[in-house]
């Protein structure tokens, strides 16, 4: 039964969605839109599962003192902090007791981690977690300088959220992406060697395309570089890409049919 129900559901929904593509009627549209909404809802619940998994893994890392276990505190603390910043916003210009609330919430988290990760007596951690939780709740209820907003976009303009996003997240993401430039340089240096005919063609194509938009080479080579580069992009590159895209497209149709017909059951945990 555990195996049958998912296969039946996949078959029914798979066949329906295939035929829905060919049926423009409003009723089929209505079911399709309904399924789209459900898909998004399921995805959101899955996020909760993911957060729990993240929490468990890091707590385990702290408990067993694996390499870099200290950073797990930072990871979980940052997770909670952004959650708080994303749901709160000041009502005026004053911060009030907001930072005390934030620290209390972070301390609750740390005490819970301690309680879960500790090998001995956890009573003190639990008591402290409770105490900090009480402090946080009292501040949250009594302090009028800031408020929780769950259904409006006000917190997205709030100072703490914007600063964390603009000055921390954006910078870190841009830094990681910029590493790519260096790795491309070192990979190009290692890989573009004229070992055989095909490798030589690859090397020459790469050099031509890289030099394509170099305005300082134009007086030397004229339009040759631009035209050759355009030909390389629009003829062999296009041909190869179209072939791969067609193959991938067929593979997608085949795999989807296999999943719908129950031939492919990897997604259920059975290969």
């Amino acid at each position: 039964m555990k195996q049958q129900i998912p296969r039946i559901l996949v078959f029914i929904f798979g066949i329906f969605l295939i035929f829905q593509f060919f049926v423009p009627h409003e009723s089929s549209e209505w079911v399709f839109e309904y399924l789209l909404d459900w898909n998004i809802i399921i995805g959101v619940f899955a996020l909760a599962v993911g957060i729990w998994s993240l929490f468990k893994v890091h707590v385990e890392k702290i408990r067993t003192h694996k390499v870099g276990w200290q950073y797990s505190y930072i990871t979980l603390g940052a997770l909670l902090s952004m959650l708080i910043f994303g749901f709160t916003s000041r009502n005026g210009d004053e911060w009030g007791w907001f930072f005390v609330f934030w620290l209390s919430a972070v301390m609750v988290l740390l005490m819970i981690i301690q309680a879960m990760a500790a090998k001995g007596n956890t009573l003190m951690s639990v008591i402290l977690a409770g105490a900090f939780a009480v402090i946080a709740v009292i501040i949250g209820a009594a302090d009028n300088a800031w408020a929780f907003h769950f259904q409006t976009a006000e917190p997205l303009q709030a100072t703490m959220f914007r600063r964390s996003f603009d000055f921390v997240l954006i910078s870190i993401h841009a830094t990681m992406f910029s590493l790519l430039a260096f790795f491309i340089a070192s990979a190009a240096y290692r890989a573009f060697r004229a070992r055989n005919v095909m490798a030589t063609l690859l090397l020459l194509s790469a050099l031509i395309v890289m030099s394509r938009f170099n305005p300082y080479l134009e007086p030397i080579f004229g339009e040759y570089l631009a035209r050759t580069s355009n030909w390389l992009m629009n003829v062999p590159n296009l041909a190869a890409q179209r072939a791969i895209v067609m193959g991938v497209g067929l593979g997608i149709v085949a795999t989807a049919l296999k999943v719908i017909l129950g031939i492919e059951r990897g997604y259920m945990g059975k290969g």
Partner: protein, 519 residues
């Protein structure tokens, strides 16, 4: 005597002038005027039909052009299209606007009330905060007006009182207005059927000369301003108009016509045919495979290297790192990766080699845990399975890469297997793996990342080879059968493409048109 004659003359002149004044002067300008231009010829053969291959809520009008279309003294420059609307539609529109306004007001009150209350509290505590209030105070429209703290306090108190009092009243009116709105909508079919009573013609749009088609469509949502009712008798008129808008032809009328949705999109017939053919091919080859027919598939070095790579990891006593990519669980590349993971996990369980599977997406993690657990069960080693070997990292691309790179440099896996959807991080992963000294096998259908994997990895599966990987590893007849179906379908497409190319060279577009898909 002379005086009498003068008097008589004056009297006669006065009588004549008085009499002449009674005559109506002729109407008209002093200059001669041109005769009024005759109206242009009307359109003919006006047809109103339900638009094809749609979900309804649309009518297409076609007509034969006016004889004076774009030519001659009575040159038609455009066509105006009208539709008959019952007055009931005005009632519906006004109710819709009223409901929308009321809902907006209620929402505004709910979000503004706490801010207004906070501003009032702040101002009462410290009147100096007048310039820094986070709520704008209502003030009179007078440039000379100067806002004081006292005025602001009174204005805020009035605003809060109004919101507190009016909010619930407005909210309570929304329900009855909605009932009225839906009742009015329900009557639309009936009032349309009473054409031409209680309604009038409204201009829908214009098209230029030379154009003999107009599509009138609208929304299926009843709350939308351009809601378009299905299964309702509609009437249309088209008039040919000259450069002088007052000079226009007689109206041609069409109707009643009803719009409705279709149950089959005829423009997508080629797609349906292809799907059915492919389905049949798959079933045929799977049956052949089940009967034991030997189906040849060409060897892939990347797949054959998986076993060696796992053996290498076991000998070195180092773990295997398996990356499922950055796709979601519904993507075919990820599904294919689950299948490969299942085979790899089974071998790993048999050899008792540790496996690390960091996941990018929570659903993928849940499925991967099941896959690996089942693989250990199939290998007869359920107790060796560790749940923390398959874990969620983060849903952010570069944070995930940073975490995985850290795992590579710390754990130093002997083998890295990348199967699934990869994006900009592919080279970051592959180069770091190369730095850590791991053997690397990659497979992705992301065309832009294939070159990076080819350059940095030892073995690469390109595009559809990833989907075929599970068939190769398991050698199950059913999976091999579907692979052959794919190959035959590809061969068919190549033949059709060749024939199509030849037909276009010889100027026979009919063949290409057979495969045209119309949306």
């Amino acid at each position: 005597m002379r005086d009498v004659l003068k008097l008589v003359t004056v009297l006669v002149l006065c009588a004549w002038a008085t009499g002449a004044a009674q005559v109506e002067p002729p109407v008209g300008d002093s200059l001669p005027t041109a005769p009024a231009p005759p109206p242009p010829a009307p359109v003919t053969n006006l047809q109103a039909q339900d638009t094809e291959n749609d979900h309804g809520h649309s009518i297409t009008l076609t007509w034969d052009l006016s004889a004076d279309d774009g030519a001659g003294q009575r040159s038609v420059v455009m066509y105006e299209v009208f539709r008959w609307f019952p007055h009931q539609m005005d009632v519906v529109d006004s109710l819709r606007d009223a409901i929308s306004t009321a809902q907006e007001n209620v929402r505004a009150f709910r979000s503004d009330l706490p801010r207004a209350e906070h501003a009032l509290r702040e101002l009462k505590d410290d009147p100096g905060k007048l310039d820094r209030l986070r709520f704008s105070v209502a003030r009179p429209d007078d440039a000379a007006f100067v806002l004081t703290a006292e005025y602001a306090v009174r204005a805020l108190e009035d605003t809060i009182a109004a919101m507190t009092e009016q909010g619930p009243i407005i909210a309570s009116r929304i329900g009855p207005m909605k009932d009225q709105f839906y009742r009015a909508l329900d009557q639309l079919r009936e009032v349309h059927a009473r054409f031409p009573e209680n309604g009038g013609w409204r201009l829908l749009g214009q098209v230029g000369f030379g154009i003999n088609r107009y599509e009138n469509s609208g929304s299926k949502e009843k709350t939308a301003p351009d809601f378009y009712p299905d299964y309702t008798d509609l009437y249309y008129r088209v008039e040919a108009v000259t450069a002088d808008p007052s000079v226009r032809s007689e109206a041609a009328q069409a109707g009643p016509v009803q719009s409705k949705g279709q149950w089959f999109h005829t423009g997508k017939k080629p797609v349906l045919l292809f799907v059915l053919i492919f389905f049949v091919l798959t079933v045929v080859f799977v049956r052949l495979a089940k009967k034991g027919t030997d189906l040849y598939v060409r060897p892939l070095s990347g797949i054959e290297a998986v076993d060696d790579a796992i053996g290498r990891a076991t000998e070195m006593g180092r773990p295997i790192l398996y990356i499922l990519g950055l796709g979601t669980a519904d993507q075919v590349a990820t599904i294919a990766s689950f299948n490969v993971l299942s085979r790899v996990a089974k071998r790993v369980a048999e050899y008792q080699t540790p496996i690390i599977v960091p996941c990018y997406e929570p659903i993928v993690m849940a499925v991967a845990q099941e896959v690996v657990k089942s693989a250990y069960l199939d290998a007869g080693r359920p107790d060796d399975y560790k749940e923390e070997s398959v874990f969620y990292v983060t849903y952010y691309q570069f944070a995930y890469v940073a975490a995985v790179n850290g795992i590579m440099l710390r754990e130093k896996p002997a083998t890295n297997i990348y199967m699934g959807k990869f994006f900009a991080e592919s080279l970051l992963l592959a180069e770091t793996g190369s730095l850590a000294g791991s053997i690397q096998i990659a497979g992705t259908d992301e065309i832009a990342q294939i070159p990076f994997f080819i350059v940095a990895c030892d073995y690469t599966l390109i595009g559809e080879e990833l989907y075929a990987a599970s068939a190769y590893l398991g050698r199950e007849p059913i999976l091999l059968g579907s692979l052959k179906a794919q190959d035959w379908a590809k061969a068919g497409i190549i033949m059709i493409a060749l024939v199509g190319m030849i037909s276009m060279i010889f100027n026979w577009p009919a063949f290409a048109e057979l495969f045209q898909v119309v949306d």
